[in-house]
């Protein structure tokens, strides 16, 4: 995208009918590290890649709990994301206080989208994947800086998200009926896609779940590492250490799935992953 004379102000249209500032804001989302979301009928899983600036620093927080039944993953300007999640939390808590009931996700995303339409402010440079439950079931929405929002079965945003999207496109038809464990496994696989060959470790990714009867919570590092090991999807640079845990329904499926798709089996003689 080239600089032009119509892009200084968010209130200026270009002759082609575009608002360049908004489009530039959407570019900011593509610069952020990847975040993915997927849902079944009863659960929604959010995941993101969390790279720290250096080994000395802590990770950027990209997944926020908004209420017991809603959570959000962000990509882009995390500061804007923090401000918006604070707004969402405040909306949820006010609704809860007046009606003693959880705010339906669909209404929250509309309020969020409307917030983007302020002509005197720069657009928020963050894309939000909003995951939540209401009386109609599980929902996953994507709110973009333009003020548009869409509902998705599965989606990925941020840098190298195309790889994750390709993986999700292949599998999304089954997600509706997936179990919670399968959904988490798919999320981890999708995250791995965006890593382009790096090992998937719990120290560089975050996973969060919300479901019927299960309030939104971020899985802690050990749980995630155990899941990675049990699904045997760590990657190819180093095979998963020791024997995998009792994998439940994930284990054999992971082997079968991993072997057919990526050729990264748990045993010796690993083949290089083709991305």
């Amino acid at each position: 995208m080239f600089r032009n004379q119509y892009d200084t102000d968010v209130t200026t249209w270009s002759p082609a009918g575009r608002l360049f500032q908004v489009e530039y804001a959407m570019e900011a989302v593509k610069q952020g590290s990847a975040a993915i979301g997927l849902r079944s009928k009863t659960h929604v899983v959010l995941g993101c890649v969390n790279k720290a600036n250096s080994e000395l620093s802590s990770h950027q927080k990209k997944i926020f709990k908004v209420d017991d039944h809603i959570g959000v993953a962000i990509a882009g300007l995390t500061a804007d994301g923090r401000v918006l999640s604070r707004y969402m939390r405040s909306e949820c808590i006010n609704y809860s206080y007046t009606y003693e009931s959880p705010l339906p996700v669909g209404r929250l995303v509309v309020q969020l989208a409307d917030k983007a339409q302020r002509s005197w402010k720069r657009p928020y440079g963050v894309g939000l994947l909003v995951a939540g439950l209401d009386e109609k079931g599980a929902h996953l929405y994507y709110n973009c800086p333009s003020g548009n929002y869409f509902e998705y079965q599965a989606f990925a945003i941020g840098s190298r998200s195309q790889a994750a999207k390709t993986y999700l496109e292949r599998r999304f038809e089954n997600f509706s009926e997936s179990t919670r464990e399968d959904l988490i496994k798919d999320a981890l696989m999708a995250i791995r896609e965006t890593l382009q060959g790096e090992t998937l470790k719990s120290s560089i990714c975050t996973v969060a779940v919300v479901g019927a009867g299960e309030p939104f919570h971020i899985l802690d590092q050990e749980t995630v590492q155990k899941l990675i090991d049990s699904f045997e999807i760590a990657g190819t640079e180093e095979g998963p250490a020791a024997a995998p845990d009792s994998a439940a329904e994930g284990g054999s499926a992971a082997e079968g799935g991993a072997a057919s798709e990526q050729g990264a089996p748990a045993d010796e003689g690993v083949a290089p992953m083709d991305i």
């Binding site: 007046t98 009606y99 003693e100 009931s101 669909g106 209404r107 009386e135 109609k136």
Partner: protein, 314 residues
């Protein structure tokens, strides 16, 4: 010469002042002189009496004019509803047209609610076709006792709320629990401003198979129960319900139980009228019955010859 100064009080703006220049004799025999004065809080100036009617005289006896004014000022201030210029701001109200009890209970398929159709103006039963139970949205019924105009104001408010809820058009809707919580907030916040909505509300409904029945008072006290009542219903109907209510009442049994409560209220509550509606709400929807009257029995022997023991009385 004694001067009897009479004044009368029969409600706001019905002051009567009479200055009687003659003494002693029975007031009815004198032709009263009506005098108008100007009312001020400081007692330097005189008093204003608005002439409405000449009933219920109250004598202040012999006083000098200053004392008379002072005493009258105090009696003015003691009357509710009138506020002088130096008083702190307050918006406490009095209820004017009021409805009496509402009784409601949970039964097998939903909620049953009953209320009579009377609107009393003090001790007069002024209006006899007041609908005190209304459906709200798809899932709830609201019944109110207390000031009818405040109930109508609430209905307007809820109308707007339900409208906005419908405008989302997203498959979600406000259920009875949400409305109950909302009404509690409204009532409590009004009470905090010393400007209450003078009602006791009963909110019942069914959503997704869940039955809900709750009450909110005018000061914001709220709770949920299997059977609730307002006003006199608390004292007369709830003991009956505590004894005879049980889970999974059939519709007929529920109606019978409610009618039993309403009959007791009819006999014993002076502001009850014998014209009531029973409303039912289930998962399918709301029905409010046509108004009807309860059968009453007055043929007790004690009523047959009431003056038997005291001739000349009535």
């Amino acid at each position: 010469m004694t001067r009897d100064i009479d004044c009368a009080w029969a409600g706001p703006w019905t002051w009567v002042g009479c200055l009687n220049k003659s003494s002693g004799k029975s007031r009815q025999a004198q032709a009263p002189t009506i005098v108008m004065f100007l009312v001020q809080q400081d007692t330097d100036t005189g008093l204003l009496f608005l002439f409405r009617n000449l009933t219920e005289f109250l004598s202040l006896g012999e006083h000098s004019s200053l004392n008379f004014i002072t005493q009258l000022m105090e009696s003015i201030q003691a009357k509710q509803g009138l506020v002088g210029p130096n008083d702190p701001i307050q918006r406490t109200q009095l209820p004017y047209v009021t409805g009496t009890s509402v009784v409601a209970l949970k039964y097998k398929d939903g909620i049953l609610m009953a209320a009579d159709m009377g609107g009393s103006y003090g001790s007069t039963i002024r209006y006899k076709s007041v609908e005190r139970i209304k459906p709200i949205g798809k899932h709830s019924l609201l019944g109110a006792s207390g000031e009818i105009s405040d109930f109508q104001e609430l209905l307007r408010n809820l109308d707007e709320l339900i409208l906005y809820d419908n405008m989302w058009d997203d498959g979600n809707s406000l259920g009875p629990k949400e409305l109950h919580s909302y009404l509690t907030r409204v009532m409590y916040n009004r009470r905090n401003k010393f400007d209450p909505l003078w009602n006791s509300l009963v909110l019942g409904g069914v959503k997704n198979g869940q039955k809900y029945l709750g009450m909110v008072s005018m000061i914001g006290v709220n709770f949920e129960d299997s059977h609730v009542a307002t006003g006199f219903g608390n004292h007369l109907a709830r003991p009956i319900l505590r004894d005879e209510w049980h889970e999974n009442l059939s519709y007929e049994d529920g109606v019978k139980l409610l009618e039993k409560c309403m009959r007791v209220l009819l006999y014993r509550d002076r502001s009850a009228v014998n014209k009531l509606q029973i409303a039912k709400i289930t998962e399918e929807g709301t029905t409010i019955s046509q108004p009807y009257a309860l059968k009453t029995f007055w043929g007790f022997t004690a009523f047959q010859n009431p003056t038997a023991g005291a001739e000349g009385s009535w």
